[in-house]
Symmetry: C2
Subunit: 502 residues, 2 copies
């Protein structure tokens, strides 16, 4: 989840003030509403050291009635705490149904800093994840809201902040050995955090990533995310009281991410001016295709299965990229699976069934032209599935891809990104070129009208399902040459990397 | 779950015929109803070799329209199957929404016979359990019903059946190396099965244990369990369609286990005539209490926490047993926590919060006079919680106790069993003895009227929450002397066993 971030996000003082003038009173009001509805609230702050957790907690409670919350600052286990099951110290701190409990670090310590510094056993890691997920599941099915905020800065910024803290006598005590360790081993620690996020991002207790390089931006994002979650909790309770079907810890409406500030992927930041000229393209294409041919043989011999998924805007260049891949492959060793609306047989099975049926055999390559991600894009937007269903789908999809990876597969997902103007240009070109007219339908134009909705859905999808072992690759697609080469290069490099590990 | 079984259960031909005359047409009708409602059904048969899975599947499909089901017989993975993620071969076999898929052995092979014969890696066990649970959760939240039947026989019976099979040329091929292995290592294999049952008995896909020593009994139990599950699925779908709150994969009513044949614990089989005379009692009491005093010191030095839970009928002898325990203990090292209706503070927290607050520190003993099991007894029966809530509670409680055990605690739960006559005798004695009158209230008499309902709830509780590491001990309580000595001896032996392992 930490791969697709745009850490350059910031906010002007003017915009900050404009927003906070609305957000603060809204949060105050919500605190009273939640209390009246007897909904316990847990807000936890995790993230990198010096990302500003303390500062942001201070900002957040500014809007809250102090009689209604506690802040729990979680350090290393005391001797007393070590003499109990590890969640004991958190169970005893859960809020009553009229309280908000705010955690400055939390049960996640066990799989983060305590893991890094060696005080949590590596062999019990899956157990800890299971315990944490069961804890949060028990609390949320019991009626609580859990809001999980992850504050993110980069290594350089962290070092700078530590240095500043250390330089003053009044704050130097705040930089601990654990802090120094996580800066020195930043990449390793980041991977641990990423693994944790992947293992515990659940529909009933999702993570919100907060880009925290700029404090004002972070504050606004935290307020916005907290407010959105609390509103959903109220709606859910109202719906249940009104006898509407329960959506088991899922929100009841799809309105989230309406606010731009809540988006987290770097989708809007990609440089669509990236291009190759024809000559470079031809040269690179020849080189990479030749290499791919060799690698396909190696992959087959080593019996490594490969799963490549293509998603992207209509006319984003999926077909062209797939063509350049398959040209270099032995047709006995790959299959392209085009995914369109489910047929009659697919419709009467679980939505993942048709993809499981096409899981490649060891040593084979499966290329999906559109994929299972339809669930969280077209099906979400067109209302072909319920809100609870697409919410659940992130976890279902992550679990499925994890099983592929654990079996030994290379799994890569490509998002072919173009801008709206480029799409229009390509649509018109298709309309005006007789041999391309079959590629363009009224539906494409209709989908185009929903560009903003799709953008929101794509953002959430990229963040919730980009995992270390099955990453999303955003392909800058305005220039087709550049895009095709990036796809080929990504596949070649992934294969080379895996073969080296064999 | 396999500890509390009564494998002597059987059924007369007459009773069998009487029941099957009703059950068979009912199942036929339900198959049509499920099809009309588009509910996919998965029925899987697991259990010990030669327990009669094939025979029972044959009996079951007798009532089914053959156009509406498939039987999948699952053996060791083929070469083709090994070249895919392990659930692939099952995903491709899931039924459409008008079909029933019956599995003769299933994905559970991976954690059972394949584990015993060494073809599944021990180190990936938790992963396999997670994969299986996620698979079943995805299917059930997707609308399917999963009915899991576990056929149980004992080692001796298994050996006898294998011998019979092996003696005839026409059936000897059916006794495989895996079969021989599981009979030779029956106890080890039974523990693997027990672990599997504990790890995968979920509200959304619970196990039904089938006592399979007597074929007729087993057939009736299987029919009854399948019919009950299918009826629940229909009710759930109807409730959802009518806009009633969803109870996420839980049944919508609490009517289950109404049929005696579905009960599984050995509660009704315990020998309540067991007794000790006063002289024996005094002698044993002195000996065990002396030993307990020593052990309490050892336990403290070794820092082992101990959690003892007492449940049982009113006037079942909990207080007396606890008294004999604590008499032998250092008061600085134990606490007795009486559990009654939740107070104002407890009421506004998660129902497990008050028990977590009383988790003993390492080296200390916590004795709970009534426990968290109130959720699945009094709260279930009096309607103090919803059906979904008490259904979920088995898993929540198992997860909690598992965390205690993984932290190193000894966890034992005692069920003080008396019969209805003995209870009446004790109630009357309390009424007629001035210094005991405080112990008896109108509520006790009211609870007594619900004896049958409680018996049903207790049966389900004992089966679903008796785990290898946190077992239920049924204490034959009609004779108080016998009961107290059994409790003391159980605690002493558990401590001795643990201390030996240190």
């Amino acid at each position: 989840m930490l791969e697709q971030l745009d850490l350059t996000k910031s906010m002007s003082d003017k915009e900050y003030k404009r927003r906070m003038d609305v957000l603060e009173p809204e949060l105050s009001r919500l605190q009273r509403d939640l209390k009246a509805e007897h909904i316990p609230v847990i807000i936890l702050f995790e993230g990198f050291g010096a990302a500003g957790k303390g500062y942001q907690i201070n900002r957040l409670i500014h809007a809250l009635d102090p009689r209604g919350f506690y802040v729990h600052s979680i350090g290393p286990e005391t001797e007393e705490e070590r003499m109990h099951p590890f969640l004991w110290r958190f169970w005893t701190k859960i809020p009553s149904d009229t309280q908000i409990a705010i955690f400055d670090e939390s049960w996640y310590r066990k799989v983060l800093i305590d893991r890094l510094n060696g005080s949590s056993g590596e062999n019990r890691l899956i157990s800890y994840y299971n315990d944490i997920n069961s804890f949060e599941y028990q609390l949320t099915t019991g009626g609580a809201v859990i809001i999980k905020l992850f504050l993110c800065i980069d290594q350089k910024e962290q070092k700078k902040r530590y240095k500043k803290l250390a330089s003053s006598e009044s704050s130097s005590w705040r930089v601990t050995d654990d802090d120094t360790l996580q800066n020195e081993e930043f990449e390793r620690y980041k991977r641990m955090n990423d693994e944790m996020l992947e293992a515990t991002d659940k529909a009933y207790a999702p993570w919100t990533i907060v880009e925290a390089m700029d404090r004002s931006f972070a504050t606004v994002k935290i307020y916005t995310a907290v407010i959105e979650s609390l509103k959903k909790a109220l709606k859910r309770k109202a719906a249940l009281a009104g006898g509407e079907p329960e959506v088991s810890a899922d929100p009841v409406n799809a309105s989230e991410y309406d606010d731009e500030v809540l988006r987290t992927s770097s989708l809007k930041k990609v440089d669509l001016s990236l291009a190759l000229d024809k000559k470079e393209y031809k040269k690179e294409l020849a080189r990479l295709q030749e290499r791919l041919t060799e690698l396909h043989g190696e992959i087959y011999k080593k019996r490594i299965p490969v799963i490549l998924g293509f998603e992207g805007w209509d006319a984003g260049g999926k077909g062209g990229a797939i063509k350049r891949l398959t040209e270099a492959m032995d047709p006995r060793g790959y299959r392209v699976h085009p995914t369109s609306a489910a047929n009659d047989i697919e419709k009467v099975h679980h939505y993942l069934w048709r993809f499981w049926n096409n899981v490649p055999k060891d040593g084979h390559i499966a290329i999906f032209d559109r994929t299972w991600y339809g669930r969280v894009m077209v099906e979400r937007i067109e209302g072909f599935c319920t809100t609870a269903e697409w919410h659940r789908a992130y976890q279902e999809i992550n679990e499925m891809e994890k099983q592929f990876v654990e079996h030994g597969a290379i799994v890569i997902k490509f998002w072919m990104q173009i801008d709206k103007d480029e799409q229009e240009r390509r649509f018109n070109e298709r309309m005006n070129t007789p041999e391309k007219q079959w590629k363009i339908t009224d539906e494409d134009w209709r989908n185009r009208e929903k560009w903003d909705e799709y953008e929101k859905a794509v953002d959430e999808m990229l963040v919730r399902t980009s995992t270390m072992d099955a990453p999303w690759i955003i392909v800058e697609g305005n220039n087709k040459y550049y895009a095709r080469i990036k796809v080929l290069r990504t596949v070649v490099e992934a294969m080379e990397k895996r073969l080296k590990e064999c």
